[in-house]
């Protein structure tokens, strides 16, 4: 049970949150080609190292936020995107 630092609630057990995965940017749906769209849907960098990801503070503040987590060590640091 790792601790996720919610920017609103402070540190919380990960069971209180939901991991929404690697941060991906959404192409303009009106103009994106299917290839671009499906890259957004399916392809992930999936690194063994630092990844910027989104969490949802489900039992706490109910806010989405991003942090950086090292997927090889589970270390967590603040995200520049947050």
């Amino acid at each position: 049970m790792i601790v996720v630092p919610c920017p609103n609630c402070g540190p919380r057990n990960s069971s209180d949150l939901r991991n929404a995965g690697e941060l991906v940017s959404r192409p303009d749906p009106d103009t994106a080609s299917l290839t671009e769209w499906r890259s957004y849907l399916y392809l992930r960098e999936n690194p063994a190292g630092w990844v910027t990801e989104t969490w949802y503070c489900r039992t706490g503040c109910r806010r989405y936020f991003t942090i950086e987590r090292n997927t090889a060590t589970n270390e967590i640091r603040d995200s520049e995107n947050s």
Binding site: M1, I2, V3, G10, R18, P29, D30, A32, R63
Partner: protein, 952 residues
């Protein structure tokens, strides 16, 4: 039955005023409070406690503690109880495991005769042909030989297990002198401390020491119990350390549960488990009467048990030397002391059922019934492994030491090094202070970062450097294996010879060897065996121990009952405000996700017919309901639904379908506009939570500029659907301030009014059943009143409740699809027949590119109404639609029921587009293999496709 009980010993744990009765293999025995099962039996002269797993050789006491591989017994309905540590309780029924017909005469012992053929991995090399013999005979025989006790699965119950959370600043795993000292200094520094000791008493090895040790222990005990801020948990084991110092403790000494799991978020974890004494590998090392030095010391000093009469001691360390003194004080004749430090050795023990003679390295044969070995220590580094450490081997000290630890894990005591009691407690104190300092800094951070907490009353404590004086590493001879072969793993019956053979076969890394020979895979998980196994491998490969590494010790540190891990099983259930009424009025329940719902009240067909003919009421509270407010709600709806929402007028309701970004249909429901910037959205019951989170996601991360507040109101509004041709008549008797006439309140409208005196009820006119119907959303605290009013005021109209099953029949007659049943994980909007609804010219909507792509394809399956040509046959849901002359799959029946309205079977089905046009005959394979024909219908709806009934 002879008595081996000694006169009173200074440090004994026994309360000799007590007399506890128990049975062992059916015979009556007794012992004292403070005895373990094993000590009570040993005191009574019992020498054999178990049989080996493979060869069924007799086994006696080896370590006399929790890790003793020979002391697993059955206690009542509890298998695999550690008789070396489990304290005796009056009335226990104890028996030997895995023996037949008895411990004394065990038929499995015939395996010894063929032992030379049962080498490592022998089963991989035979039993291959003929195959049927493997399946029908060999495997059954192998399964009969499975070791362990018996699970009483027929009579067992989950019972009263329990859990709790804890948040100590410092948790000390191990209550020996160093651990106790660490707990004291941490508490003195202001930290909250949890001190966990696996034995029922604190003290570790001091407990079986001499008067000086006992005096130190008494002082430490007094201090620990008088210092505030220390929670002492004895008879409790730290079983795991997980990421971010999430620590599991299994507490056994709590009166309300046999085992209680404590989950602790720990600031600093101090690992102080001491050391585990290692057996020595030589021929006959599993004979009863071969014991470790610690075992005889514990037996004599803690439980006043004389472990034998004539002893040979092989000693490589002070523990062995102390054992000699203890033996002598207990009246055991010490025949010889072999000093391993001086190169003396034991090469074999012989005897039948018990040691009778010992062969020494210099060729002597000594008559003895007890052979005591003191050949070194294993550092139980499990918790350190779990913290990411890979301990390294030190040749000089002949054991492993921690290498690199995270800041929040510290070690003290024997696992960190050697020293006198004074040196160990000094190291413990320094470790406790350091751990407290680090933990208090973390606590300060938590206080600062957590909005609800108090403002810290002091500044952030300064970081302090780790200036502890390390404990020394005393030289110790590398004693692993004698010149003969013996057992390395007692619980798995794996010998040094097996390991050498495995190395020769290519299993020459420790992990491969472990998997091939099963060494260290038994209940002890390598506590006694790991280092000896690595030593034998190093020997076989002629490399240094340090180059072998050890297997990674995985959690738990000590096995944990499933009951403790489960604890109280919390499986929340949700109940509508009417569920009690349903249950007292004959409803048969249905579990749907977390909701308990009425499936029917006896006869769903009649319930359905009553809706078509009169009026029925159904509790549909689980329908997800979201209150949406703000100026941008319509923009949000445009984004998340496939259709358009900007022009929905106040007082109107609209159906909407949602797809995910991949274009797959994800949810649907109706949304009504209650006021200018106030809407009520409904979702499927199962999708309610996901839709809410999804809306928040879009609002927070994609369009934070939009002003919308989403509030879930599912349980707060009890939803009652009043359906049937007489529904308006019924409601007109109860609704006060809403004109229900068709002109004033048309289909797909919403009004707010008072129902049976209950204000603020939302009423919308929709028709899932296909009948004239109104859905009431009533404040739940008054819902029962409304429900009962509907029934009491409509008895002359034939009003009756109906359940989920009747609703399913009605909606299928009407051809309404259910997301997730009639659609699946690949169904696009085109499959579900949403062509008329979807607006592809919006600039942005979820899944837009996939929506556009789906409507350009002609190969996607199509949802159709389907009727079997034989109206009495109802194909089961999921029956496949096939090519008439082959097994090629062309679709499937997604929903099917007998229609009470039509008196025939009706279905929805997903079919290949080539079969989708009305009138197409398709072949359906029934569950019993018969094939029938069915005809594709023009509409999804089988009853009233024009919708005349619901628009009256």
């Amino acid at each position: 039955m002879s008595s081996n009980r000694l006169p009173i010993r200074g440090g004994e744990l026994l309360d000799r005023s007590t007399n506890l009765s128990f049975t062992w293999n059916g015979r009556a025995y007794s012992g004292h409070e403070g005895d373990t099962i094993a000590s009570a039996l040993a005191a009574a002269g019992v020498e054999i406690f178990s049989r080996g797993m493979k060869y069924h050789r007799r086994r006696g006491i080896l370590t006399a503690n929790h890790w003793d591989p020979n002391l697993s017994v059955q206690v009542g309905d509890e298998p695999n109880v550690r008789a070396g540590s489990r304290r005796l309780v009056d009335g226990m029924q104890v028996s030997a495991q895995n023996v037949w017909p008895s411990l004394r005469w065990d038929l499995g012992a015939v395996n010894r005769l063929v032992g030379r053929y049962l080498s490592a991995g022998f089963y991989y090399k035979t039993f291959m042909r003929p195959q049927f013999l493997w399946h029908n005979l060999y495997q059954r025989v192998l399964r009969k030989f499975a070791p362990g006790g018996r699970v009483h699965w027929k009579t067992g119950t989950h019972g009263e297990y329990d859990k709790r959370y804890a948040h100590p600043d410092v948790l000390v795993a191990g209550g020996g002198p160093a651990g106790m000292a660490a707990a004291l200094s941490a508490a003195e520094a202001g930290a909250s401390v949890m001190l966990v000791e696996q034995e029922p008493e604190l003290g570790g090895h001091l407990r079986w020491g001499g008067p000086d040790d006992l005096a130190v222990l008494a002082d430490l005990n007094r201090a620990v119990h008088s210092t505030p801020g220390i929670e002492v948990l004895c008879d409790s084991i730290v079983t795991g350390r997980y990421d971010h110092n999430w620590v599991a403790v299994v507490q056994r000494n709590h009166e309300i549960a046999p085992e209680r799991l404590i989950k602790a978020r720990v600031g600093s974890l101090i690992v102080a488990p001491g050391l585990v004494e290692r057996p020595y590998v030589f021929a006959g090392n599993d004979l009863p009467g071969v014991m470790l030095a610690g075992a005889v010391r514990r037996l004599i000093n803690l439980w006043a048990v004389k472990p034998g009469n004539r002893a040979v001691v092989l000693s490589a360390n002070s523990e062995g030397d102390a054992a000699v003194a203890d033996l002598e004080s207990a009246g055991v004749e010490v025949v010889a002391v072999l000093d391993a430090r001086a190169g003396e050795d034991v090469v074999g023990a012989r005897g039948r059922g018990r040691v009778t003679s010992v062969q020494t390295g210099d060729g002597r044969t000594l008559k003895a019934d007890l052979l005591v070995t003191a050949t070194g220590w294993t550092a139980p580094t499990s918790l350190l492994n779990m913290a990411g450490d890979r301990p390294v081997y030190d040749r000089i000290a002949a054991r492993y030491f921690p290498q690199s630890l995270p800041d929040n894990v510290l070690v003290t005591g024997g696992i960190a090094g050697d020293g006198s009691t004074t040196e160990l407690t000094a190291h413990g104190r320094e470790t406790g202070s350091l751990a407290a300092q680090r933990a208090l800094r973390l606590r300060h951070d938590r206080l600062t970062q957590t909005p609800r907490s108090a403002t810290p009353d002091s500044a952030l404590p300064a970081a302090i450097a780790d200036n502890r004086i390390p404990l020394r590493r005393s030289p110790h001879p590398e004693c692993y294996r004698s010149t003969t072969h013996g057992l390395v793993d007692y619980s798995e019956d794996v010998s040094s010879k097996d390991l050498i053979q495995a190395t020769g076969e290519g299993f020459d890394s420790i992990e491969l060897m472990k998997r091939y020979t099963t060494v260290t895979m038994g209940p002890g998980q390598g506590k006694l065996e790991t280092v000896n196994a690595a030593a034998v491998l190093a020997e076989a490969r002629a490399v240094e121990m340090a180059d072998i590494g050890t297997t990674v010790w995985r959690p738990p540190f000590s096995p944990v009952s499933l009951g403790a891990l489960a604890g109280r099983i919390f499986e929340p259930v949700r109940r509508s405000a009417l569920q009690n009424w349903h249950e007292t009025n004959g409803a048969t329940n249905l579990l749907a996700g977390q909701w308990v719902r009425p499936d029917h009240y006896g006869d769903p067909m009649t319930e359905a017919s009553n809706v078509r003919e009169n009026v029925g009421i159904i509790d549909v509270t689980p329908l997800g309901k979201l209150d949406l407010r703000g100026p941008d709600v319509a923009n949000l709806l445009d984004l998340v639904y496939v259709n358009r929402w900007q022009k929905l007028e106040v007082g109107r309701v609209r159906y909407g379908a949602m797809v995910a970004e991949d274009g797959v249909v994800s949810d649907d429901g109706v949304t009504g506009r209650l006021a200018d910037s106030h809407y009520l959205m409904t979702t499927t019951s199962s999708g309610a939570a996901a839709v809410w989170e999804m809306l928040e996601d879009w609002l927070q991360t994609y369009r934070p500029d939009w002003e919308v507040h989403v509030t879930p109101v599912t349980g707060g509004l009890t939803s009652i659907n009043v359906a049937g041709p007489r529904s308006r008549e019924l409601l007109e008797r109860l609704v006060e301030n809403v004109d229900l006439s068709a002109g004033a309140f048309p289909y797909f409208s919403v009004r707010t009014g008072t129902v049976s005196g209950v204000q603020d009820c939302i009423i919308w006119r929709i028709g899932f059943t296909g009948e004239l119907s109104y859905e009431l959303h009533v404040p739940s605290g008054h819902a029962l009143h409304v429900w009962e009013s509907l029934l009491s005021n409509g008895s002359d109209l034939g009003v009756a409740p109906f359940g989920i099953e009747a609703q399913r029949i009605l909606r299928l007659e009407k051809g309404h699809y259910i997301v997730g049943q009639d659609t699946d994980g690949l169904s696009k909007a085109s499959t579900a027949g949403l062509g008329g609804l979807v607006k592809l010219d919006k600039a942005d909507t979820i899944g837009l590119p996939e929506l556009r792509a789906a409507f350009e394809r002609t190969d996607l399956p199509v949802l159709v109404g389907l009727q079997p040509d034989d109206p009495m046959i109802v194909p089961d849901e999921a029956c496949q639609i096939v090519e008439a002359g082959s097994n090629e799959i062309l679709g499937r029946v997604t929903s099917s029921r007998m229609s009470p309205t039509l008196g025939r079977s009706v279905c929805l089905a997903q079919v290949d587009p080539s079969l989708a046009s009305a009138g197409t005959a398709v072949t359906v394979q029934l569950v019993d293999g018969r094939r029938i024909t069915a005809t594709v219908q023009e509409h999804h709806a089988h009853v009233d496709p024009e919708g005349a009934r619901q628009r009256v």
